[in-house]
Symmetry: C2
């Protein structure tokens, strides 16, 4: 059975592909080119797609750069660095990004009569993004089933969030159990021009701490790694 998995080439979404595959789903992985600061993630998403032998890998070009309002879409806004953000929503939050991404996933699902969508959101070791919470996802699923043909006339869509209650170290352990090669993933918001992770942005810090807590070494080579 086909499923659509949102894939950023990151740690979380790659584990989600492994989980969906393990559940017996065929994978259509979906990535977005929004000329993001960390566009290198698209290279990694393609490598991940190849690694898992997905049925199809779709990259949609979407105009988030025209909208701006985030350090990831507006190069004049700096990526916060140096310590884990634990209060408020940081400058790397992209306005309505998961709402837009999930909307496209729903559109593709509907156009292809697919009911299962997977997204790697989690709300424990995360950047406080409001579009990653269980409350939002549950509500959004209801909305799309009210506002689509597949929802109103047919079987509806289910948005699966297998990581929603897992901490980063648990996600890493689950991925390792399922044979994920984390060396072909990327998490950094601000990699250098060869894709090397900075080691100091929120996303790098969460990832590094996750590997440390899990008791494994992150196979990526960081520009700076204070946790080593």
């Amino acid at each position: 059975m086909d499923s659509i998995v949102l894939s950023s080439g990151g740690l979380d979404s790659t584990v989600v592909i492994a989980i969906a595959k393990d559940l017996g789903f065929d994978i259509i992985s979906l990535s977005f080119d929004y000329n993001q600061r960390h566009k290198f993630e698209l290279t990694r998403a393609s490598e991940v797609a190849k690694f898992f032998g997905v049925k199809k890998h779709i990259i949609l070009k979407v105009p988030l750069e025209d909208i701006g309002g985030s350090a990831l879409t507006d190069r004049s806004i700096d990526v916060p660095a140096g310590k884990l953000n634990r209060e408020g929503i940081p400058a790397t939050y992209v306005p309505a990004r998961n709402i837009i991404f999930l909307s496209y996933a729903v559109s593709i699902a509907e156009a292809n009569n697919i009911s299962d969508i997977f997204i790697g959101v989690n709300a424990i070791d995360f950047s406080n993004y409001p579009d990653c919470t269980p409350m939002f996802i549950e509500s959004f699923q209801k909305s799309v089933n009210l506002g689509t043909k597949i929802g109103v006339e047919d079987k509806g869509v289910v948005i699966h969030t297998p990581l929603i209650k897992l901490g980063k170290s648990q996600i890493i352990k689950r991925g390792l159990e399922l044979g994920v090669d984390f060396g072909i993933t990327t998490s950094c918001y601000n990699p250098d021009n060869i894709g090397r992770p900075c080691g100091v942005c929120d996303s790098c810090l969460i990832r590094l701490k996750g590997f440390k807590d899990a008791g494994f070494e992150d196979p990526l080579i960081y520009k700076i790694n204070r946790l080593k």
Copy 2:
């Protein structure tokens, strides 16, 4: 106060611009280029923006053609013609279109600290699209206020639907009261290469019947007009 108005260059969204302006809002009109079959509507949306002297007119290029699944995005699917569709959801329905469009409107709203979004959906004389119903819009508004920074930390967004309970003839009358020039709008799903409306698609038939019921003449010149 700024507002974002989804503008297709059509009858409904043009009346909505007039209504929002009448309420005292400054208008940022938002249109989408998805290489739609009726791409001529973008020419009209720009004319409408000029007519109302909007603060800004934004056209976002979005990849709905890559997704397909509709007569408006896939040229191999015919636009149904000849009689008003009254049962089921027709082939012109674009999977999750309003969900995607509203998501972008929310993103722009959030990036610019704007709370008011207007959309010209109505659920009386319409094409049975599920993404035009009050239930969907109410639910979607709740979802986006759970899943955005503006919703969680700030004032939230309101999705205004001033036409939701109006029939087509009432919408036309309201527009005429507010000085709308319907000659610069378009409604046709299948115009010819100079933008002339076919007169036989669902959208043309609903519009023509609306003008007839309202007791006014549609200023557009149709290829075929059986109601004349």
